[in-house]
Subunit: 338 residues, 2 copies
């Protein structure tokens, strides 16, 4: 059996996460029992939710246990199988974690899924045609539910969720405005991701200037917002919401390091009769087939061209992850493991 | 035609509302034109939303214009009519404003509605079987939508909205916890309004102690919350919400005087996958018949025994209103005008 390099959570962040929270170890992969499948990971997905798991506090999911392999989505290839439904060479997506190989119970529902790489590159199953894409789909379709012509806004616009959000919203006839960090990302959002406009938050670092920028970019006000960040950007968006605007809340990266980020004027929820809904997409597995079908078609037809930032090798995962939390990635952050 | 005493909004509050914002004047009621109805008001309703109207800022409804009669719900009796559908002696509910008489266009939809006082006292059409009752109904039934056995919480528990909320929630098999100011109101909430428990916010004046009190009163957590107040009570409730809890936001009395009241930890919306929805009941007229029917039945069968605080005479309205904003009323605040 091959040697397996793994990254464990060694200790919890005190405030900001740092590289020394993680620990690289090498182990032997155990021999397969009946029903098990050995997968070699080609790509590991890095996602903001992982930062929340590193804390010990109450959250929507169990904390990442100390001394165990960090949780994470993976795509790869079956190299050995004692399960009738999987054979060597199958391309699969799963939750293999921050490691080069995983041994998976082939009978556990939803743990391992075969994918078709004819029209969709394998890595996209961790992004546009995976969890981030379905996240965008759920927030847009099930929470914001925009009418044609509505103006919708998304933060972290060039990320995996934001780029899928834009394609899905354009397909529904919306005006789509993104918020991203830096002129390069904003240019990319407009030119490649079909955003109507993109606001550089570095040029608008407070509620007042961001609110003004949103007013300019959204002359008819904001009907829907997909929140990935939290903090002053949310405050600025609330100031520009139309009556009955709907806000899907799926991430608050800005608050992961422990300090709560107040919402400055929640009375706007009443004034504008807003709906705000928090969600995590893994609790809505019933929508995945419909969402993945639409996302796969958008990719196959060239309407969704997600960008990827790829770090090389499992040992690069911690630094790549810390960069993701600071917005240093450009598009979906992956780690290539082969 | 009778003389009519009216209260106008003379100037806007600078911070807290004060009696000198209002002005009492006496006018003649104009002669009736064809289609018009002259109503003598028996009761004027005082409601927190009026404070919002006194401001010049953007809100969910137009500002109360200066120099005009203050907006307000009224019940009374037709004393003269040039409209075929109304006759002297009819009991009616409408939006007559802070004055003793009003002349109403009988053809304007929804402006004047005849009511039956056989089983429901006239004044109740301003409270339990009126706008506040329907407000409670909409928030509970359409937003919180509790399952049997769920724990629901309401602030301003002994007010017109809170007392109706309790009766409606008990009818749906919920555990109902109120929040009110002072031991007398809390005792009344439990003994007369069928709350399972009631928390005295004066004994719990900060997030930490209120959160502890909520934990004790809601051992299974909070599944639904009806917000009338805002501020630290909302923060404390959020800390005790269960996953997928739903919050109906219909008032933020605590913020009416201008200073925004931050929500300290909106990340809890994500952590607990909450739904928060602001609403005003006048935008949902389609539910009124169903809601009024249930509320009327609860009153007629003794399951909803709302309490009233009644000020005497139109000149007492400003002080009674300012008292309402400070929670000095006990139950529905009315002004008797006959």
């Amino acid at each position: 059996m091959p040697q397996n390099r793994q990254i464990l959570l060694d200790n919890r962040p005190q405030g900001e996460a740092v590289a020394s929270n993680f620990k690289l170890v090498t182990t032997d992969t155990p021999p397969l029992k009946d029903g098990e499948v050995l997968v070699r990971h080609h790509y590991l997905s890095l996602d903001p939710y992982m930062r929340g798991r590193m804390n010990d506090s109450k959250s929507y999911a169990a904390s990442q246990p100390l001394g165990e392999v960090m949780i994470g989505g993976t795509v790869g290839e079956v190299v050995d199988s004692k399960h009738a439904k999987f054979a060597a060479g199958d391309k699969v997506v799963g939750m293999g974690g921050w490691q080069e190989y995983s041994v998976v119970d082939g009978n556990a529902p939803g743990m391992l899924r075969k994918v078709d790489t004819t029209h969709v590159p394998l890595s996209f199953y961790l992004g546009a045609v995976g969890m981030p894409g379905v996240t965008a789909w759920y927030g847009l379709v099930k929470i914001i539910a925009p009418k044609e012509g509505a103006t919708v806004v998304v933060s972290a616009a060039t990320g995996a969720v934001g780029s899928a959000f834009a394609a899905l919203a354009k397909a529904r006839g919306c005006r789509v405005v993104g918020i991203a960090g830096g002129p390069e990302k904003c240019q990319y959002a407009v030119e490649e991701l079909h955003f109507d406009e993109c606001i550089d938050y570095r040029q608008h670092p407070d509620v007042k200037t961001m609110s003004k920028a949103l007013k300019d970019a959204c002359p008819n006000g904001i009907d829907g917002y997909f929140e990935n960040v939290g903090g002053y950007i949310l405050d600025a968006v609330l100031l520009r919401t139309n009556a009955f605007a709907r806000i899907a809340l799926c991430g608050m990266i800005a608050g992961y390091d422990g300090q709560p980020l107040p919402m400055q004027n929640p009375a706007l929820i009443l004034v504008n009769r807003l709906l705000i809904q928090g969600f995590i997409v893994s609790e809505h597995m019933e929508v995945w087939p419909e969402a993945l079908k639409e996302l796969g078609t958008l990719v196959a037809t060239g309407k969704l061209k997600p960008r990827e930032t790829i770090a090389q090798g499992i040992d690069s995962a911690p630094e790549a992850f810390l960069g993701l939390l600071k917005g240093k990635n450009f598009g979906k952050q992956l780690v290539k493991l082969i």
